[in-house]
Amino acid sequence: MNILGLYNYWIVVVLMMIGFYIVIAHENLIKKIIGLGIFQTSVFFFYISIGKVAGGTAPILDEKYQLYSNPLPHVLILTAIVVGIATTALGLSLVVRIQEAYGSIEESDIQAQDVLDQLECSMEAYGIEHAEKLSDQDLNE
């Protein structure tokens, strides 16, 4: 065996980095969630490929077979997939609420609105007269 015997980890790393890139480089929240999903499957592949034994079979006991793959990662990942869809649904419903509150699911739009809101809040806190001066300055900036 040479270094190419590690190829399963490299596939995992490539998938993981694709997911990571989607999460950090895209503004759209739905795309971010899909990216997180790809990241998640890369971890699933990591576990399952660790459990694979060459020449083994699925871990359902039968007298005909002697060599089985490791069942423990299967259990961990099987539950992780179902928990994953439940948390994805939670994330999607957060996105839906964000859309309803902000009218957009693009990160920069949301941040711009937040900055405006904060500005208005601080203007109210300082009182209106002061705020008028402030707002002129800030708008120019």
């Binding site: 993981m16 929240l29 928990v83």
Partner: protein, 308 residues
């Protein structure tokens, strides 16, 4: 791609392909779950939320250079980290030596269930699975409270919501034939999980997928008549209670929490009974959480359409 519809479809295909890869890696139960969850339910939920948030992505204002740099550096470091890992498929890798041989060699005598994945899931690592079921339940509660139905929509819910696919006669007829088969298959997966691939998690998802198919073709109102929202919301908790209840009963009968051996005189029979009940609890919670989540998302879409 700016069209998110295409992106969601691609991610569904990706899930299906990864399911077949899991199959190739001997993880039949995992492949089962991934095919039902990733290619089925997750794609549907994504589409439902696309309907609510808009189909097209805006042009990104970020410069991808920095992100690409971060990703490449992290990837290179991770690849460097893999150089110490054991080769793929080795039978004497550290992961294969610790607890796995015990599960494979002794589980038949201790649990009496051929599918080792089921016996680990429900018995050896029963605590872990209880935790996962509670997480699914909590996520269900989270979705319910985030997409809460307001008073206004309660009045609207009295009115009938017509099905969008009323005209699709072929689909409706075929679905009527398939629906009992899907539900029957879900029950088979549920109760045959001890002997073949399957179990509560997969069965719950398949059952929910059947109900979702019915909802899509025959309308939300019809389906909510059958599966009333209140009852489904109660069922999410009932599943968790069955699971926890089995554990408490074990304690009352003199064993440890979730130690099923004391349920019957013969420890192996006790394990059988315990696994059956626990998987039933898992199945009920997973199915009802998925159905409730789907109802919440569709209800939002329908509501939006009727406001406009």
């Amino acid at each position: 791609m700016r069209d998110l519809f295409a992106v969601v479809m691609m991610s569904g295909i990706y899930s299906l392909i990864s399911a077949s890869l899991f199959l190739d890696l001997d993880a039949v139960d995992v492949a089962f779950t991934e095919a039902a969850v990733g290619a089925g339910i997750s794609t549907l939920l994504m589409l439902a939320s696309l309907k609510l948030v808009g189909r097209y992505e805006h042009k990104s204002r970020y410069k991808p250079g920095l992100a690409l740099g971060v990703v490449l550096v992290t990837g290179a470091l991770l690849i460097y980290g893999t150089l110490d890992m054991p080769y793929f498929g080795l039978a004497d890798a550290p992961a294969q030596l610790h607890v796995a041989p015990r599960y494979i060699n002794d589980s038949m005598a201790e649990i009496g269930v051929p599918n080792v994945v089921t016996s680990i899931l429900a018995s050896y690592r029963g605590f872990d699975t209880l935790g996962e079921v509670v997480v699914v339940f909590t996520a269900g509660i989270g979705v319910m409270s985030l997409l809460l139905v307001s008073k206004q929509t309660k009045e609207e819910s009295q009115t009938m919501v017509p099905a969008d696919m009323r005209q699709q006669i072929i689909l409706r007829v075929v679905a009527k034939f398939m629906l009992p088969l899907i539900l029957l298959f879900a029950l088979y997966v549920q109760f045959h999980g001890d002997y073949g691939p399957g179990g509560g998690f997969q069965a719950g998802v398949i059952f929910a997928a059947g109900i979702i198919l019915y909802t899509m073709l025959f309308g939300l109102s019809n389906s909510q008549k059958l599966f009333q929202r209140k009852k489904m919301e109660l069922l999410t908790a009932v599943g968790v209670l069955i699971y926890g209840g089995v554990g408490v009963v074990c304690m009352f009968m003199g064993g440890n929490f979730l130690d099923y051996s004391v349920l019957r005189h013969d420890p192996v029979h006790g394990q059988h009974l315990g696994i059956l009940l626990v998987e039933l609890g898992v199945g009920i919670t997973v199915a009802s959480v998925m159905i409730v989540i789907f109802f919440k998302f569709t209800w939002r879409t329908v509501k939006h359409k009727y406001k406009e």
